[in-house]
């Protein structure tokens, strides 16, 4: 296999640029700088180019993270608002009126806004937080740093990717303030409900803003994804073959490919919906009688929208989950002081999951009236996913076996990811089965399943990443005691919220109900308990936010390589440079998981850029 992946043209260009600017600087104040510490600081950066319209991947990563955190808090607050209604239906809560004004007259949540809150909570969490906030942050931060590249292949496109995401978030936030309320037909916005303003007030201006927000978001994902793929393919440093890439980068690469192949389909679905809404077409509409009028549209099919939506929707689940699993692989290996178990199997299973994710979308549609034969096919393909998932789970567990586990907050979250991935994944086996899904479709069982396996697990992956790479992002350490508090309370409340929901679902309690739980004997109490866990879990996130911003400015200074990690990002200086490495880009000589080799050395890791020792050279090249 050729290892000529190092791209001399691009590297040469970049380093040339660095040299030129360096000499310019010398021209300005001769003899002032003799050292090479300023190597790479080739632009005089203003506040605007450094912090706002930055083209530095590290800054863009931070922009994604902080915007994602803000959106995450909005999404979380919405969930607490509707949990208040679900826990104590109809009871007056002044806090609701404080935050929501006319949407909670006398402190009771308006049923329409309840649906809007559910919708926007889902949209924000799925897209703005767990797609942009997660992939956007860590793909940007880690792909160049872990591969030994000076920046992304196209820093300009990268900047555009962030600003389209910003625009998308802005539009979504704006929709919260329009008079008829934000979109309120569920995050999947199934037409005709989402197409007809007569059917729901949220399907007016709110829905239009939702669609434009998502269109901007898709542009962001596509420009970002193109960049991630190109960078991974072309800008790996010398010696960094594909099979020497850390699993994080593998996960980001596969995620980007998934996004590139599936998001355009959502764009199509969204455009057709836009046409149906404003131009009188009937892609999704047929035989509808609403507010006393029979619409002219005939021949469309609302189920067509669902096919298009879930063709994105299912890969999207893995777009959310895979980066989190990639981060988990890395954080587990570093802190267990062991190589990840079955590196190649981990890559293989990710590829298998990614491939399968494109042929399982129908499992969201078993009860739409789809041909039962199709249901059988989707049951079969969906249950296949259990196999690569099982491989991943067991490989994670074996990675811990005979390790020497350091419980950093990041490590705790990574272990949490594995636990949640298993718990949530297993209930997927039931939902994948068309015969069983009939009775569980759209019940709390589904809510429990996807929140645990995709929502909370990915959120934990994000947290693991933030705690682990915070020193790389900000040059300071986060407070670990607050980190432990954050982890344990979040873990307990996450299980406390979502585990009981399985039982409600089995009893047939439908999701997205505003009240009427008395028909399902005795679940009112359980609903209250769930809400209490949700509120506690929500509050403790503020501890994280506090820790984050406090540590950014006041945290203790981070050393070069705080976790004794073998990957390349820790060879860059603590203080950020645009260009990442002051001198030459390091060359890679080994895979990223040389931990605790039985070589008689005191240190228990060997960085990737360290040449092979004589002894290693004689032995067979192991990886």
């Amino acid at each position: 296999m050729s290892e000529q992946t190092h791209n001399p043209a691009v590297d040469g260009h970049l380093s040339q640029e660095v040299h030129e600017s360096h000499s310019v600087q010398h021209g300005h104040d001769e003899h002032a700088h003799h050292g090479h510490e300023d190597h790479g600081h080739h632009h005089k950066e203003s506040f605007i180019t450094k912090y706002i319209f930055s083209q530095d991947h590290k800054m863009i990563a931070k922009q994604f993270l902080i915007t994602g955190m803000f959106m995450g808090l909005v999404g979380m607050m919405l969930s607490i608002f509707f949990r208040l209604q679900l826990g104590w239906p109809g009871q007056s809560m002044p806090i609701l009126e404080t935050f929501l004004g006319k949407w909670a007259p006398d402190g009771v949540l308006d049923p329409n806004f309840y649906l809007a809150a559910v919708t926007i909570h889902g949209t924000i969490l799925v897209f703005m937080v767990l797609t942009a906030g997660l992939s956007g942050t860590f793909s940007n931060l880690l792909i160049p740093l872990q591969l030994g590249a000076r920046d992304m292949a196209s820093p300009f496109l990268n900047m555009l990717s962030y600003w389209f995401f910003f625009l998308s978030s802005l539009l979504m936030m704006t929709s919260l303030f329009v008079e008829t309320g934000p979109a309120s037909s569920g995050w999947t916005v199934y037409p005709p409900l989402s197409a007809l303003p007569e059917a729901s007030p949220g399907s007016g201006l709110g829905m239009t803003l939702w669609l434009f927000s998502i269109i901007a978001f898709i542009v962001s994902v596509l420009t970002g994804g193109l960049n991630y793929i190109t960078t991974v393919m072309n800008l790996r440093t010398k010696g960094m073959s594909m099979t020497r890439m850390p699993l994080t980068v593998w996960a980001f690469l596969i995620t980007a490919i998934l996004g590139l192949l599936s998001f355009p389909v959502l764009l199509g679905a969204g455009l057709l919906l836009l046409f149906d809404r404003s131009m009188g077409t009937s892609f999704y509409l047929s035989d509808i009688y609403v507010s006393g009028q029979a619409l002219e549209q005939t021949g469309g099919s609302p189920v067509l929208y669902q096919h298009l939506f879930w063709f994105l929707g299912h890969p999207e689940v893995y777009i959310i989950l895979l980066p989190s699993l990639g981060i988990t692989s890395e954080v587990l290996a570093v802190n267990a002081r062991k190589p990840i178990f079955g590196y190649r199997a981990m890559i293989g299973s990710m590829l298998a999951i990614a491939f399968l994710s494109f042929i399982v979308w129908g499992h969201h549609m078993y009860v739409t009236g789809m041909d039962p034969l199709l249901g059988s096919v989707f049951t079969f393909t969906t249950l296949l996913i259990a196999i690569p998932s099982a491989i991943k789970a067991f490989n994670y567990i074996t990675t811990l076996w005979k390790g020497n586990i350091v419980f950093t907050p990041g490590m705790l979250f990574a272990i949490g990811v594995v636990s949640l991935f298993i718990t949530g994944g297993l209930t997927g086996i039931i939902l994948a089965d068309s015969a069983l899904d009939v009775n569980l479709h759209h019940t709390y069982f589904v809510v429990a399943h996807f929140h645990i396996v995709m929502g909370v697990a990915s959120m934990f992956g994000t947290f693991a990443g933030v705690y682990h790479w915070f020193p790389k992002m900000f040059g300071r350490m986060m407070n670990k005691k607050l980190g432990y508090l954050h982890f344990w309370v979040t873990l307990i409340s996450a299980y406390g919220v979502f585990f009981p929901m399985h039982y409600m679902g089995l009893a047939g309690v439908p999701r997205r109900y505003y009240q009427n739980f008395e028909f399902f004997s005795g679940f009112s109490d359980l609903n209250m308990v769930i809400s209490i866990f949700a509120i506690v879990g929500g509050l403790v996130q503020f501890v994280f936010v506090f820790n984050f911003f406090y540590s950014m400015f006041k945290g203790p200074k981070a050393p070069q390589n705080p976790w004794n990690s073998a990957t390349l990002e820790w060879t860059t200086p603590v203080k950020h440079l645009h260009g990442n490495w002051p001198g030459e880009i390091p060359t890679v000589h080994r895979w990223p998981y040389d931990y605790s080799l039985p070589n008689g050395e005191e240190r228990d890791f060997i960085p990737q850029d360290e040449p092979l020792s004589e002894k290693e050279k004689q032995a067979e090249p192991a990886h």
């Binding site: 509808i288 739409t368 249901g375 005979k402 009939v438």
Partner: protein
């Protein structure tokens, strides 16, 4: 307002105070020579112990919830033929995933606890083992193969029940935000319907000679009622647009209804199947042990007919008809006795988000003996009767005298 301001100030103060406190702790730790990135033995031990405790907690929660909620009281056994099969498949699946849940969580958290950091120990460099990986590829594959196969068998039984001449055809019609059930009457055939036939009286848009006459009168009347300000040109542009849309839609509607009228008058369609149909809007009554084929339609947006006790669920999609056939096997009376709950009712829920009062869209369902069912149904007035009454009120004459 003042209270909110005070609260806000308290929060800000709390944040500042915590930041100051944290700074003090941080200095103290630095003075004692502690490094922020190093995890002390006590921290490692504490977190390892908590991991072990959380394993116990997770299992305890599982047992508590299962004991409390996974039983007849909360999840009554299926009241339909295919539902019994579904339930046993569900139980099999649960056994498999519960086993996997216990084994994997136990290993995960036990390893995390057991191999917590120890300065004196070195981790074992153990990168891969093809045999082990083969085991956890093949074993899940075999288990999945069994589950897929069993699942598909039940799925087949559910979706392709053996044909039965005795099957009752019943329509569930959904709209924002209520249900109407339509019984097919003596002929056991549901009459044709069209959304253009819908009006205040004929909410399902059923087609019959009388209904056509009624609808033509109504829509033609509607088309004549034009806001007088339109003709005078006083209407704001936006309203004018609405009025234009309304009229355009009416024209489309009149054309369609006129086509039904032509079909009837030319004799190519009799539209007679709807005559004996019975519309019910309060309680759905089903005869026990007789297969029912549900025909589902929707007037406006996607709804979903969910009958959890019968393990029945199907979307109601505007523009097309969906089906679900099942056979109720337990009467409401028997269920009341079984659950020891005199208030018990089966229910039909809407289970696809459909607008503001989605949560209220439900109807009780009662399963009774064949005799009770027949008695109940014969007392109901038919669609033909109802239409005739409405026509009389409008001063129109019914066509049906001769037909009936």
């Amino acid at each position: 307002m003042l209270l909110n301001l005070i609260l806000f100030a308290v929060v800000i103060l709390a944040i500042i105070t915590s930041a100051r406190l944290l700074l003090v702790f941080q200095f103290a730790a630095e003075l004692r020579g502690k490094k922020a990135h190093e995890i002390s033995d006590s921290e490692n031990n504490m977190n390892a112990l908590l991991t072990l405790l959380s394993l116990v907690g997770l299992f305890a929660m599982f047992f508590y919830l299962t004991a409390t909620y996974y039983n007849e009281k909360y999840i009554p056994g299926a009241a339909s033929e295919h539902g019994v099969e579904v339930d046993s498949l569900l139980n099999l699946n649960f056994i498999v995933i519960t086993l996997a849940f216990f084994i994997t969580q136990l290993l995960l958290m036990w390893f995390a606890y057991k191999y917590r950091y120890n300065k004196k120990r070195r981790a074992t460099h153990y990168a891969h083992n093809d045999k082990l990986e083969m085991i956890w590829t093949v074993v899940p594959a075999i288990v999945m193969a069994v589950l897929v196969l069993k699942g598909l068998i039940v799925w087949n039984h559910t979706t392709n029940p053996s044909p039965d001449k005795n099957t009752l055809n019943l329509e569930l019609y959904a709209r924002q935000f209520d249900w109407t059930a339509r019984y097919s009457g003596k002929d056991n055939a549901l009459g044709k319907a069209s959304y253009t036939m819908i009006n205040g009286g004929n909410i399902l848009g059923l087609i019959s000679a009388d209904a056509i006459q009624e609808q033509l009168t109504i829509v033609r009347g509607d088309s004549l009622v034009v806001d007088s300000t339109v003709t005078l040109g006083f209407l704001p542009a936006e309203k004018l647009e609405d009025e234009k849309t309304r009229l355009r839609r009416l024209v489309h509607q009149i054309r369609t209804v006129a086509e039904f009228d032509y079909q009837f008058k030319s004799g190519s369609e009799s539209y007679a199947a709807s005559h004996d149909d019975v519309l019910v809007r309060d309680t759905i009554i089903l005869p026990v042990n007789r297969p029912v084929k549900l025909h589902m339609r929707s007037q406006d947006v996607i709804h979903s007919a969910y009958l959890p006790h019968f393990r029945v669920h199907m979307y109601c999609v505007p523009g097309s008809e969906t089906y679900f056939a099942f056979k109720p096997i337990t009467t409401t009376k028997e269920m009341k006795k079984k659950l020891n709950d005199p208030e018990f009712e089966y229910r039909l829920y809407c289970n696809n988000i459909c607008g503001s009062t989605h949560f209220n869209m439900m109807l009780p369902v009662r399963v009774v003996s064949e005799k009770e069912y027949a008695a109940w149904l014969s007392a109901k007035s038919t669609f033909a009767d109802e239409t005739k009454t409405r026509l009389a009120k409008m001063g129109l004459k019914s066509n049906f005298a001769k037909n009936n």
